[in-house]
């Protein structure tokens, strides 16, 4: 508790001395998620001894003049199913003090940070995954001249309610030429470039292998623009980093992200390509899963919001992936033959993710042999194994002043072994989705969702129906069911029904749900956690102030 009270008192003292004229500003937010678990042997929802599990967060931010301060209390008593059991406990894992000078900001304590696209460093929080790799240390951010941005930091990563063993040191710079040179300000040409380095120190206690105690990654990036066209590139390199995720091989890592976008009124085009090889970088070389991630290799796949198209999500493979992405969004203007009275939007997306090509380093050493250089991989070599493929077409159409809809076809190829470690083979999913919203009055609306997933593999076909009624401004009631009606094992033809009531008012949201959740994985940006089957009542409260 001393670690909380002393900084608060210090903050009050300094702010009183330095900014007596400034007003206090207080803000924060609260999130409480809890579930009362019931047993259901049919879906594999096991008995939970505690009956109720919950994840709770409370953020409080104070600011006065150039001083900022924040603390977060977290309580996992005990963590909800599917979240890492090592989260169990409570405490103040996030606390910081920040002072802003005219061209310099200094943060002490915990902070989140990202360098470029995140290939060398991305520290962030994603509560739906139970993920938080906040850094604890010192960060300096500087903006010395127009268009010049510098950052430097040193610290350790959060690991549940303690810190990961590795010490991280990093720096980043970015120069925006259009800001630097006044003559370029109004030009259609735009150019920014930057670079970053991050190094991890972790002592070598291994008696078998010589492990590098200092592991370095660096990255260079640029963003080139001309009128509506943008080309964003980042290349990263990681020196030898034998660790638990790569099977303790000494090969260097590299990654390249290249994305071209074009936008104009009614049209958006995106083309992207990614290569990642041995780029999983952790704050402790022995960590796996979601623990201790230092960097982030961005996902190159569409985020699906509907239950059946999200059933088999994309999982990023930072240790070996070649991915491609293409997307076109087009608005067919109203009062045209196709657009009709209200116009129509079409999205077409294609994503493909493959393994990288790997060759053995010699005839006698198999690929991936521990304590070797692992393998050789040509930079543009694409492996045969397909991890993920997604072809989606979506049509959004307003049919009348009160009725609008969305029709979608999604084709997903899902490699169950690469994505979730289950040797169920590759699934070829064909998914159809219809979403209709009927605005009955200004305060009442009815939304209806029908989905069907067809596949020949594993548990075969699924169907889903959902009806959602919003009323009296801020109230939502929904009733839905996902049904694995064609499971080859008739005893597993399960219904996963949910009933939900949600109330939002001001900045508060309260939601109560009763129903069943299917076993699977939940992903955000290609970073995933296992979701066990569960059944029961859940309560979620979010508010901010």
């Amino acid at each position: 508790m001393k670690t909380i009270i002393i900084p608060i008192l210090l903050f009050i003292f300094i702010s009183e001395k330095s900014f007596p004229q400034s007003e206090w500003q207080v803000s924060g937010d609260v999130q409480m998620d809890a579930q009362y678990y019931l047993e259901d042997s049919l879906i594999g929802a096991n008995k939970v001894n505690e009956k109720i599990l919950s994840n709770n967060y409370f953020n409080l931010y104070l600011s006065r003049g150039s001083l900022n301060m924040g603390i977060r209390y977290e309580n996992f008593s005990n963590p909800m199913l599917g979240f890492d059991p090592r989260l169990k406990g409570s405490g103040f894992p996030y606390k910081f003090i920040e002072y802003k000078f005219p061209t310099l900001t200094i943060t002490a304590g915990n902070f989140y940070e990202q360098f470029g696209l995140g290939l060398t460093l991305r520290s962030y929080e994603e509560r739906s995954l139970g993920f938080d790799n906040a850094l604890e240390g010192i960060r300096i951010q500087s903006h010395p001249w127009k268009g010049f941005y510098l950052k430097a930091l040193i610290g350790q990563e959060r690991l549940f309610f303690s810190k990961a063993e590795g010490i991280l040191r990093g720096a980043d710079f970015e120069i925006n030429l259009n800001e630097v040179f006044d003559s370029l300000k109004q030009k259609p040409f735009q150019f920014t470039f930057g670079g970053s380095v991050v190094s991890r120190y972790q002592v070598d206690k291994d008696p078998i292998y010589k492990l590098p105690e200092n592991v370095l990654t660096w990255a260079l990036r640029y963003n080139l623009g001309y009128n509506n066209l943008r080309w964003n590139n980042e290349f990263a390199y990681k020196y030898n980093d034998p660790n638990a995720t790569n099977g303790y091989i000494y090969k260097e890592g590299n990654a390249l992200i290249s994305v071209i976008t074009y936008t104009r009124k009614g049209l958006g085009i995106l083309l992207g390509a990614k290569r990642a090889d041995n780029m999983d970088f952790r704050a402790d070389r022995t960590l796996t899963g979601l623990a201790g991630m230092i960097n982030y290799v961005p996902a190159m796949a569409k985020i699906h919001a509907y239950s059946l198209s999200a059933l088999y999500p994309y999982v990023a493979q930072p240790n070996g992936e070649m991915a491609f992405q293409g997307q076109i969004s087009y608005n067919i203007p109203k009062k045209t033959r196709l657009g009709g009275k209200y116009g129509m939007d079409i999205n077409i997306q294609y994503d493909l993710s493959h393994a990288i090509k790997k060759k053995p380093i010699s005839d006698t050493i198999p690929i991936g042999q521990k304590g070797t250089d692992g393998y050789i991989s040509p930079f543009f070599g694409i492996g045969k194994e397909r991890y993920f493929e997604d072809a989606t077409i979506e049509i959004f159409k307003k049919i009348s002043p009160k009725l609008k809809g969305m029709l979608s076809y999604v084709y997903i190829v899902y490699n169950s072994l690469a994505s979730e470690g289950h040797d169920y083979g590759t699934f070829y999913n064909h998914i159809g989705i219809l979403d209709l919203t009927w605005k009955i009055t200004s305060k009442h609306a009815l939304r209806f969702e029908a989905q069907h997933l067809y596949k020949e593999q594993h548990d075969k076909n699924w169907a889903s129906l959902l009806a959602e009624y919003s009323f009296s401004k801020g109230w939502f009631f929904s009733l839905g069911d996902i049904y694995n009606y064609n499971n080859p094992d008739p005893t597993h033809r399960n219904h996963y029904y949910t009933v939900n009531l949600t109330r939002t008012f001001n900045s508060t949201r309260i939601s109560i749900t009763y129903g069943k959740i299917r076993e699977g994985i939940s992903c955000v940006g290609g970073v995933c956690r296992y979701v066990p089957a569960s059944y029961g009542f859940s309560l979620s409260i979010n508010t901010s102030f």
């Binding site: 500087s142 720096a171 206690k205 291994d206 008696p207 022995t286 198999p366």
Partner: protein, 279 residues
Amino acid sequence: MKKWIGLAVVIAVLIQACDKVYPPYMETNNTPTPTDSVVQKVIIEEFTGHLCPNCPEGSEVAHQLEHLYPGRVFIISIHAGYFANLQSPNYLTDYRCATGNELYNVFQPQSYPIAMINRISRNGSMLVNKDGWAPLVDSLIHTTPTIKIRSTKQFNPSTSTLQATLDFIFLQNTNKKIMWCAYITEDSLVSYQKNNNSALGPTPDIPNFPHNDVLRGSINGTWGDTLISTPVMAGDTIKKSFQYSFGTVSWNLNQTHIIVFVYDLDTKQILQAEKFSVK
């Protein structure tokens, strides 16, 4: 300009913060253990199972440590839990035993492979994933032992009976309550094993995987018997002996070993261990 110089210095320093390791990547500084010296010995109790695709990697780590510290690291492979279940058509050899099942129920491993290293508790848990075994074994190997175990044995082939006498020699004064225990392990059992590491064998199944150090049972129960419950002085020796009849078990007694260990009753930490063959 000063700021740029500052940034250049930061980046230059960071770029230096990198160690490039060149082959050979294996350490070469270990020295053989003198056979007559009193040294600390370490038991790796590895929870495993033939349906566990990551377990060949665990087995490899354990055997690397066994070879790195010959005669000082003993492996006990506990086949228990879901991954040790039988599955048609290839996984029908049952390596489970009552002792292993009891250890599984008490220590409740959640992910495989995972092991206890001398049953040392860290952060409230004795279970360590395979990437933590080597540093922990290395740190324990270099500690000063408090007990020495000396064994003499005689095997009667006509009755398949092992007669053993154990001397527990205390090297320091102690007032701990200490238990002694003797487990039986068997080597060279060849059968199927799931595998997802192509560097270690065919995937997803290795048809002829050598299962070594398989826990078969205990001479004196899962938790053993009391060795001392009152203080002893350095130099004191406590003698224990046992007779064990293997009867008509199908085990290959040429490949069967006894691992004797002593542990602190309060902390459960293993204080010393010894291993000898049945025949």
